[in-house]
Symmetry: C2
Subunit: 384 residues, 2 copies
Amino acid sequence: MENFKFEVLHECKQTGARVGRLTTPHGVIETPVFMPVGTMASVKGLSPEELTEMGSQIILANTYHLYLRPGSDLIERAGGLHKFMNWDKPILTDSGGFQIFSLSSMRKITEEGVTFNSFLDGSKHFIGPEESMRIQQQLGSDIVMAFDECTAAGTDYEKSVEAMERTLRWLDRCSKFDFKGKQMLFPIVQGNMFADLRLESLKRTIPYAKCGIAIGGLSVGEPKPVMYEMLDVLQPHYPKDMPRYLMGVGSADCIVEGFMRGIDMMDCVLPTRIARNGTAMTYKGDLTIRNAKYKDDFSPVEEGCDCYCCKNYTRAYVRHLINTDEIFGGRLLSIHNIRFLNRLVNDIKKAIWEDRLKDFRDEFFETYEFRREQDRQAFGKNAE
Amino acid sequence: MENFKFEVLHECKQTGARVGRLTTPHGVIETPVFMPVGTMASVKGLSPEELTEMGSQIILANTYHLYLRPGSDLIERAGGLHKFMNWDKPILTDSGGFQIFSLSSMRKITEEGVTFNSFLDGSKHFIGPEESMRIQQQLGSDIVMAFDECTAAGTDYEKSVEAMERTLRWLDRCSKFDFKGKQMLFPIVQGNMFADLRLESLKRTIPYAKCGIAIGGLSVGEPKPVMYEMLDVLQPHYPKDMPRYLMGVGSADCIVEGFMRGIDMMDCVLPTRIARNGTAMTYKGDLTIRNAKYKDDFSPVEEGCDCYCCKNYTRAYVRHLINTDEIFGGRLLSIHNIRFLNRLVNDIKKAIWEDRLKDFRDEFFETYEFRREQDRQAFGKNAE
């Protein structure tokens, strides 16, 4: 397995969080790492050069969406996803499972896989573990995710067991697919919000994990403290010699809390999605740039930020663009938000090296203001 | 008037078209020049650095839009338009007149100026020549346009005379505004599609033209041959020592025909607007990238083009982005289209130096295919 390798460079004595290096066929990823999402083979509005400039090392693309449009056959003929989208650094693809469950109507789950209707035109499709692996092979991503069944928060114990067991059986089938050493399969731990199921799922998943393991089925509607509890349960039991990927999580607070709990990789559409709606992520919490109070604020979006947006534009200008539906506004805030998360991850990395990530976490939350009431409550913080 | 200067470097012996250099406080513009439009202080989706990279030397911004949002007071407090939008090269602002006439309801024209309702919220506003000059002073553009009355194609002779006379009286008032040598007023020739009015308007406008004169009220619904006829009528009578700006015209065919008739500057929203709808401008005519025939076309948008889009992406990828409403698609095609027009202008410039612009024009139309039936007919060309 010479194409893939993971080394832990340092483990934080205060938290067990790690700094590491994951080698892939398209380059080395320094962990902890935040991965922006390019659902449709494009991180919305941004060029690959911009992503590189803001320090992104790997992006995520969505198998379900690309399977439907433009089709994985076409991407294979284009020379794979890297060439198709002009991104020569690592790519991680999800399995399509999560989107089938969240976006498609009329889905039918059998032992074989899932029959579903396209969210675009209602056409009928079938994807099982083998199909998902084959599609991801056509896409040519560096990291391939196992085809799993993800359950929503609130799913009862019995159904959670059922989904976990099916995920394990599907994982066994995924593991038989031959990626010829060019792509690495990450198996996914499930088990909903039940500590015993999480532990069992982890234990039975580890044998399939060669150079990476993922935690799925979190941030699916549960309160954040419940998610952190699940991560606490798992942390002592992860394999040490491979990266742990917490799927679909990427708000600033979750990034701090997640990496503190031994997670190495995270991804989320949040920074680009809220950017297009006019929200800037900062060390002081989210700013709603649309607000009238920024109308003639000629300071940068975030003081001290080194991103292209903050170096060249003011809150007043970005607000003007967002309020007039000028797409350059979403582009500028997307650049800022992704750079903000990368800066935050760099600061976390530094704190790990200095064995003080727990202290960093406490300092972070002293100045970070939560925008959503439920988040404030979860952290016992007062409203802005 | 040391801030502004125009030199003719060469005049094409075949056509009278010119290569020149227009000096402004924000730099030298090499003419002929195509100017992209940044209505809202942003050339839709593109960064200033991208515009520079694709060879754009000057952009246009819209006074009417910026007066309403974010307000010219605010832009003045931001340090002017250049600083507000991070563009340090020349800017031309229109007078707001054209947009008042085309976008606002309930407008009332008096000798003083125009009372109109905002297209945003219906609020009542008044702009006359003095107000337009003051707003453009607040914006801080290099080139300021006179406040004029533009008539649509089909306007009768009497009404065309009326609008022309009012435009001349308003011009006299505009000319009294003191820009302190920092901004250059371009007066505008009107006269609808009547050759005698065009000539009279030009003759009476020239005394107000210090370092630039504009031809307005064309491309307002008339067939293209009628526009070219008006330009032919005017060409022998322009002042030689200043640039001539044909307003709001920028399709590839019009650029060739316009510059051939002694025009030095043109602007249009066309390249960016059609880009967002998935149309690529090329030497062979417009391509509708959405078309199924480009589905697995792995060649660049235009073979031989040196733009960022053509150097790094395929028609198949751009089509995928456009068809999935990914905004990066519009950005890539905007880059291509503006670069295409700049390449076309460079080729025109070369033909002027070589005294063969008429030959170049004939060669251009041998391979250029018109997309719109009326354009084909105007050029006596068959359908694609």
